[in-house]
Amino acid sequence: MPIITRLDRMLADRKMQLSELADQVGISLANLSNLKTGKVKAIRFSTLEAICKILECQPGDILEYVEE
């Protein structure tokens, strides 16, 4: 998929665990893990907003377009 997530990089910078982020965002660890590994097909704006708020970043910091 051309859209990849840099969630692992952001979590490492903030020294935060994936489970901690999942709790604060309010989604399951499995779903967040799928997002991290690029297995999801779509993300709601509300979820993206919650992640950006907690990680104090922009959507562009988490999502990146890489041509195949």
């Binding site: 997002l35 999801v40 779509a42 709601r44």
Partner: protein
């Protein structure tokens, strides 16, 4: 969530009805199977005995579009045995198809009781159910008396039917239109549910 609980309750009720139909058709199928096997062992001599014990004056038949009386003294026992066996085989085939429909319907309801509706398994059960209903629409051809008579010598048929025949199965129906339509609609539903599976997958992979 409420709608999910609602359809599951309905599926449970249908499952109970489907289970009753399933068991009744299974027992019926078993019974017909035994009768069929039993008929293979019936000897002509038994038929002769039966024919000798019948009082011809009491036997007149009124079947659908035709009415006839039989002079039993002219009936050939061997041909009557063929008539019996073919008749039993007809019923066995029909019951087999109805059992298959009851089985698939029961499986579908059992699945819907506990799982989400838009899954590959639902699509599979709907497909088999549709095919079963379409096949059952052709059973009307087997039900026709003239189908049985096809297996017998025409002279014997004339003897069995005797005098007073007004008609002999000239209205052969190839298939039942209502059942055919129902089967096609169920097949269409399976295609629609297949699309539903795609949508469900997309929803499941959206966070």
């Amino acid at each position: 969530m409420e709608k999910q609980i609602e359809y599951r309750k309905f599926a449970k009720v249908l499952y109970i009805l489907a289970s009753i139909t399933y068991w009744v058709s299974l027992i019926g199928l078993g019974f017909m199977g035994l009768l069929m096997i039993g008929s293979l062992f019936i000897q002509e001599s038994i038929i002769v005995l039966l024919l000798n014990s019948i009082d011809p004056a009491q036997l007149h038949f009124d079947q659908g579009t035709f009415r006839f009386s039989i002079d039993w003294s002219l009936v050939v026992p061997k041909e009557l045995l063929v008539f019996l066996r073919v008749g039993l085989f007809n019923v066995l085939i029909q019951m087999g198809v109805y059992f298959f429909i009851a089985l698939e319907f029961r499986n579908l309801m059992r699945h819907l009781m506990t799982e989400l509706p838009f899954t590959e398994i639902t699509v599979k059960y709907l497909k088999y159910l549709g095919i079963g209903i379409i096949i059952s629409s052709f059973l009307v051809l087997l039900s026709s008396s003239s189908f049985t008579y096809l297996f017998m010598d025409s002279e014997t048929v004339k003897q069995i039917l005797g005098a007073g025949v007004t008609d002999m199965g000239t209205n052969i129906t190839l298939f039942d239109k209502t059942s055919m339509l129902a089967g096609l609609v169920v097949l269409l539903l399976s295609r629609i549910f297949s699309y539903g599976v795609e949508l469900q997958e997309e929803v499941d992979q959206t966070i």
